[in-house]
């Protein structure tokens, strides 16, 4: 008990390929978990399983103690999980404000789910929080990558979810944008009390912001622990052989 998210023996196969194999994992409320692993390790697939885009072939997923594997994506979202995408997917033909309003209008029961008028106010507050206030009326397809990533974060935040899954929210950003985003992430936990799972390739950053690191390799969880321990784990170092680790 106590875990906000709990995975037990979760497996997902695509034809002959096992993208996620027997992964068990528990995440505590307000924890920041860094999820790392080489390309193709199964990180995005794990997010797709948690959010109900795919159903696990095996295993169980519980959110706040309730079984969610088997629910459809929108039902899981309504229980309080939101995500961002590795390849950004803002609603291109909607303004930045409208994107965030959708988040608020379809938010978690009791927290989000506002009327459109209230949603607009909520969206504007979130835009200020993100430093996107000046872009409210811009069509989101006209934003640059850094802004699109912040928009996705905002669209998730206006729903007031308990758990946020960030899929490479920092990749492709400039060093100053990364600093800004890192600051935002720590404020999201500190000021808003969210739980986060963050997939990231920038090692230095992920080690710094995470309470705990989970390492996937060929779909399997090969390590799970505090950042400084993980950085010295021989299995992890081997998985990353050929790639710059730190």
């Amino acid at each position: 008990m106590g875990a906000i998210l709990e995975l037990q023996g979760v497996t997902k196969r695509f034809g002959g390929l096992t993208a996620v194999r027997d992964v068990s994992l528990a995440v505590a409320p307000r924890e920041i978990v860094g999820l790392i692993g080489p390309n193709g390790a199964g990180k995005t697939t794990l997010f797709n399983l948690i959010t109900g885009v795919y159903r696990p072939d095996d295993g169980r997923i519980r959110f706040n103690g309730e079984r969610t594997d088997g629910l459809s994506a929108y039902q899981i979202a309504r229980r309080g999980i939101r995500r961002t995408y590795q390849v950004v997917r803002p609603f291109p033909e909607m303004t930045v404000l409208e994107n965030l309003m959708v988040g608020a209008i379809f938010g978690t029961p009791g927290q989000g789910r506002l009327l459109p008028v209230e949603a607009a106010a909520q969206a504007r507050r979130t835009l200020e929080f993100l430093g996107l206030g000046g872009r409210a009326e811009t069509l989101s397809k006209h934003l640059n990558l850094g802004e699109k990533k912040r928009l996705e974060l905002g669209r998730a935040l206006t729903a007031d979810p308990a758990l946020l899954l960030l899929d490479e929210a920092l990749a492709g950003l400039t060093p100053s944008e990364i600093d800004h985003a890192v600051d935002l992430i720590s404020r999201i936990r500190r000021e808003l009390g969210k739980t986060l799972i963050i997939v990231e390739h920038v090692m230095r950053t992920i080690m710094k912001i995470s309470d705990r690191i989970v390492v996937l390799h060929h779909g399997e969880k090969i390590a799970d622990g505090p950042p400084d321990v993980i950085a010295r784990d021989p299995q992890v170092v081997e998985a990353y052989l050929g790639e710059a680790m730190l």
């Binding site: 979202a77 939101r82 995500r83 997917r89 033909e93 309003m101 209008i105 379809f106």
Partner: protein
């Protein structure tokens, strides 16, 4: 408060005025003028209906005319059945049956919505087109529905164009107001999310299946009501009520005006008729061919139609032209 906010917007005010002015047309007692605007209003209503599905959810409803045809046959069957039962002309205005045409179309939409709206993209377009063909074939071949000859209604009712005009005007206004309202409530935001990216919409908590079905049923109602008025105005309905001509016309009108806007179908219907008149004078039987070309040109160069282009090129119009 909500009503006040509505009044501060130019689009609804302008359209309410335009509908009010159009209500004066029959006062001229000019049958030709009445006929012209009857056709225009019919197309406008259909275009509003089509726009709710295509413009709001992004689903290309190519067989949309099926709802119009079903509405027409509903009116036709009711008039003939009641007429035969009382062996003479209907003792009440047959136009009171119009809402039933809409309801039957909605019921049909409700039945096919779940399976058909699971199909995405071009396959959805083909599926709706096939549904229309199948329904047309049924009406063509089943004797109860009059078969190829259709259902003549003149034994049971008289030809009255003015009530038809006002019924279409009323439903046109209702379709506009519904479109305007839908885009401002939760349903509208959900649909726009689906239009932009259905998978993302789902992971943001939008019950996409429900929302697509809802808008399909609402849109079908307006098309069905329009088809019922048309059948009664013509005092006749036959399998041509599922024909291709209007299917093309409503797409052209929607594209010309501006897909997904509430002003677009209104303006689009007018532009469509202006162009059609010009073309028909010069090329009496070829105007549909030209409209094929027009569709391609709009889709390639002015995808937003007139309203979209104005909004894009004149900053500040985004809030005014809705």
């Amino acid at each position: 408060m909500t009503l006040l906010a509505l009044c501060a917007r130019p689009t609804p005010i302008a359209l309410l005025l335009a509908f009010a002015v159009m209500a004066l047309i029959p006062l001229a007692r000019n049958p030709e003028l009445n006929g012209y605007f009857l056709t225009l209003l019919d197309l406008m209503l259909l275009t509003y209906s089509l726009n709710m599905v295509v413009g709001f959810s992004g689903y290309l409803s190519f067989g949309h005319i099926v709802f119009w045809g079903l509405g027409g046959y509903t009116a036709g069957m009711l008039v003939t059945t009641i007429g035969r039962a009382i062996a003479g002309e209907l003792t009440f205005s047959p136009y009171l049956l119009v809402p039933l045409g809409g309801l039957v179309a909605s019921a049909f939409a409700a039945v096919i919505a779940y399976p058909i709206l699971r199909i995405r993209g071009a396959y959805f377009a083909i599926a709706t087109f096939s549904v229309n063909l199948a329904v047309q074939t049924i009406f063509f071949n089943v004797p109860v529905f009059g078969g190829a000859e259709g259902l003549p209604l003149k034994r049971f009712m008289s030809y009255q164009i003015v009530p038809a005009f006002y019924w279409l005007l009323a439903f046109g206004l209702l379709a506009f107001l519904s479109s305007y309202l839908i885009l401002r409530i939760k349903l509208g935001y959900g649909l726009l999310a689906i239009l932009n990216d259905e998978d993302v919409a789902q992971t943001m908590g939008v019950n996409t299946t429900l929302y697509k079905i809802l808008i399909y049923i609402i849109a079908a109602f307006f098309a069905g009501a329009g088809g019922a008025v048309w059948a009664l105005a013509q005092v006749f309905v036959d399998p041509e009520n599922f024909g291709i001509t209007r299917s093309i016309e409503m797409f052209v009108a929607m594209l010309l005006g501006g897909v997904g806007t509430t002003l677009g179908p209104f303006i689009g219907a007018f532009i469509y008729f202006a162009i059609k008149d010009l073309l028909i004078i010069r090329f009496p039987h070829l105007h549909l061919v030209f409209f094929g070309g027009i569709i391609m040109i709009i889709v390639l160069f002015v995808p937003g139609g007139l309203v979209g282009a104005l909004r894009q090129h004149v900053p500040g119009l985004r809030r005014i032209l809705e």
